[in-house]
Symmetry: D2
Subunit: 343 residues, 4 copies
């Protein structure tokens, strides 16, 4: 099968190329990039020199599926024509994630190019939408933060175990902000530093709310705060909520019980692992796992869930390949089995 | 005035030496260290070579005040004899922070050597106990995490503006764990990594609870979760709570109002700065400030307070010198005015 | 084929496990570790949880080949019995690298356990000894620094293009120092820091001298200086030498000429890439490439060669698997084709 | 005395403000910046909030001395008018460092605005030009790399102890590249990475050659190679040269002898310390020292000198204040005595 990557020159795009390189069912046949058009892929990204490709302005050749790794707005502009030419598309941007065009406009500041596609698009968090992904023509790949937050909270929200007040405190490495230059990725500004940002709401909040609300009749009220920390890859989310009294009143060990609930919930998901110890982002570097550790703060009876992942893999390119695998009938784990690079 | 440092060879100890080096009222006359006894201070710490001192096993000379930078338990064993010889003491360990000997034993796993001193000791968070510090003989210097958490929450708790449920999500650099070797300060394990630890309660929790409970009749229920991030110095705490309805029902802009409350609360505190933007740990590197940014998550009506500091300065040695200054009648800011080293 | 790893609990050992996990011809059947014996591999290294193995004290089962990732001296003690039981062995320690038992004793401070094996052992830098490796029973895997230095200098030394004075200035990440705790891998000591160490000769110097001297009748006089820099993986060596006049007197562009010499020299080596731009360690993270950039400082007529690699892959575990592949008749690149994880 | 900083918004500029904040003889009266004109200094740099200054487009007020922290070319354009208004100037840019206008044009690609000033300007490496600095009207502050290289090599070159072939292998933190955005200070590109750059000659080479050549009748032939490493502050230079036979033929211990030569050479220089152990950049963080460790590689008889400093202090703003102190008759060390911030 021939696939293309629209905008290979960002971090999600070049990570897609890395992962697809060894995919036995896929030929990466075309890669685009605006400023780098005409250059060899290996000249822009020496680690991809083994892929003998030239970057072009437009997708090229007879492709079956395209990944778009463009920023929002630009992505919709490239994705819609591709769909209309008959390609399947996995869009890594935010352009098709929200079901509401109004909400899209509120958070992203632009009018949606064609809201009709919002209904058709499948939110590509495989663990929640596996069956719909299999038959989708257009998959909206989730944001990196939402992947960690939604997977951390879906079991307890779907099973109505917690009150509606939820805090998600997320810590991200710098690559989540992309390859474009700005002061929050200047090494000297970010190194030996940590800070919170987007205190009035990160753009990833509406995805989290949309997906978690769909699991329950009692929509959660989420405070989602993002922090930048001095590392390249990785997101860790610490989630806090109050159990409903019924959960704690049950006589058995709540820590044991909550772990079993999560293990059962994710029993058939190859890329979610419920861990007995608090997980570390380093345990996911370069691979497609989301590690989740639910526990109970026994002094206060609160739920704590720690989840982590590699923002460029399960939070972007790896999830996209996982979606492609399902859309095209390949094994879900194909080319995503590599273990994390540690230390 | 002659002062000594018990255990100069840890990070708090050598940071004390750095700060005291230029203090015009103080002669650093004696420094101790167990394994390094007999060595020149400048051979162990080349950055302190300008201080012409030899490390000894015991404090030496006719001192007026001693700092103890020993670990808990060992510190009490050294501090009590010093007090009995008539010295004033600032103890950086946890040995005299908790008023309850039982709670000390529960959290630190050892029986307290002499609980009588617990009553006398003043918890040396200057902003809360300035007057008591001035006349104290024994000051228990606060922990690094508690300093950030208590200062972040004291105004709203003292003024009964929030409900009792409080989340404190703290992120710390590695130096907070000290200079002794263990896997959580091995560079290759910690670099490019973030993880939560002490999920069943960090030892700094009882201090936070003790001090915040003393400000209110309605003791807060605190979930305190600590995270290690790949940087050397700095702590940032993100605190979350629900406002009481009366706060939000007031017609005026709640963000503006909460900032004014904090600014007023800390108006006379030279080392607390209420910031208009979310603060960054890098803005405190090497200096004694605690930066605090209170705000309101307008979507949910929740309080968010971000606070940060240098764990070895305001979180340890700088706070200790601030306490010494007050105990000895020097200006509170003496030798603590240096600006942060940025970037 | 069944293989075992002696001392899986160090960084070279667990990196071997990571690489072998997907090797189609190999079953990793046994892993040993002293302090961790009895534990599940995935409990010690969560990123290896997919490998369902228990750490044992001794190799177990009917193995064909063993890797030893023990420190020197301990390694010889484990390797010799394995050889005598009929296993092939790739030894990652220094115990069989030097041909001279005297030199081994001089640099490592212990008498060699059985110098007879020094003659038999093949120095497993595949690019220099490919044919001998294919038939070897015992391969001594090169050190991480020597791999970068020898590959950088072999072409010009073998072809007698440079004078004998050679400077190798190497910069290494911290993981090269292993997983055992010491002050030079304490995060707070190493982060935001760079320093030279081993100024009177690093233990890897005799390997470099041995292998480069074997290529020429005119033994080079090498100053080799090692530096620790604040990153986890990666070694970069900057090598300096004076060209013989005959090289520069030749009329053609010397920069072009030196690159062609290197490209030709390594034309058949899948894991050496001669790069048109100065290489970066990040371009090798997690993979088995050594990137080499030779050039000429036109102002002084000096040769400069920059080489880099991942010290745990081409500098240790990857090279070991490359050797195993040859020793066992598998394709040289089997399970080593993954692209670098970037950024 | 009133001073101003032209272009306070770069790293050298804001570091000057930090250092001058506590200078008892100086009032920082004016700070300029192009894009930030009109903003409060503390809004742009929160760590400087204690300085109540507004950034202006042009220097303002009746100043005695100005520092220019502009990039080259722009700096000359601002410095010359300031001189003509009667101010003393310390220029941190490269515009007045080279004595030859041709060489300036060759390396910086622009014609010098007024070569007459090249003769007048004093190269402000205090240790070499202290007496000239005292009476200078215009001091050209040295580059960060040259400071480390020249101080490392001046003693042996002035005393004709080495052959002319010299290698300087320098490793720099990222802040040396300034605050402007480019791919070589993007965190995700630089973190966990090391690479050599400017292989055909860094712009700091002609300064090094100019100053070292002035010390000897036998101009050295220098290969100077720069490397970027993942830290914010600090430069470490490793210098290699061959001793003249007469040095080694002398019977006494050459390591001891070379150290004494350096100690004597720098005996009266408060900011150069000859260290018994190889120095670490971390030992200089935030202070004005240059640490130098000369030694002899006994196997080859080569000189190795390791030098290090904080590129923003002794390599820029600290050196500039040291020069100002001398130009204005203040003690050379005024406001520069703070110890390094460690760890």
């Amino acid at each position: 099968m021939k696939v293309g990557i629209i905008n290979v020159t960002g971090y999600s795009g070049c990570e897609l190329a890395r992962i697809l390189y060894r995919h036995p069912e896929v030929e990466l046949a075309s890669v685009t990039g605006r400023s780098a058009a005409g250059q060899k892929l290996g000249d822009v990204f020496p680690h991809l020199a083994a892929l003998d490709l030239t970057i072009t302005e437009q997708l090229d050749g007879n492709l079956d599926l395209a990944f778009s790794a463009l920023p929002h707005k630009a992505s919709a502009e490239a994705v819609i024509p591709a769909l209309e030419q008959g390609l399947k598309v996995v869009d890594i941007s935010a352009d098709f994630r929200l079901k509401s065009a109004d909400e899209y406009q509120e958070w992203y500041g632009v009018q949606h190019q064609d809201p009709n596609y919002l209904e058709e698009a499948v939110y590509g968090l495989t663990e929640l939408h596996r069956e719909e992904v299999k038959t989708a023509r257009l998959v909206a790949n989730p944001g990196c933060y939402p992947t960690s937050a939604i997977l951390a909270l879906a079991p307890v929200i779907e099973q109505s175990l917690i009150e509606s007040d939820v805090i998600v405190d997320s810590k991200s490495g710098v690559s989540g902000g992309g390859r474009s230059l700005n002061m929050t990725n200047h090494f000297s500004e970010v190194n030996e530093n940590v800070f919170a940002y987007a205190l009035q709401g990160h753009r990833h909040l509406p995805e989290i709310t949309q997906e978690l609300s769909a699991l329950t009749s009692d929509a959660p009220s989420i405070t989602f705060l993002t922090h930048l920390i001095p590392m390249t890859r990785g997101i860790l989310s610490s989630c806090y909520a109050k159990f409903k009294p019924s959960f704690l009143d049950n006589g058995t060990d709540p820590i044991q019980r909550i772990r079993e609930i999560y293990e059962e919930y994710y029993a058939d998901d190859p890329f979610v692992r419920v861990t007995p110890q608090p997980p570390q982002t380093k345990q996911t570097l370069g691979n497609n796992l989301c590690l989740i550790h639910p526990t109970v703060d026994l002094r206060t009876g609160r739920l704590i869930v720690i989840s982590c992942l590699d923002n460029l893999v399960k939070g972007a390119a790896g999830q996209a390949v996982q979606n492609m695998n399902l859309m095209c009938g390949f094994p879900e784990t194909e080319s995503l089995e590599a273990l994390a690079v540690y230390p």
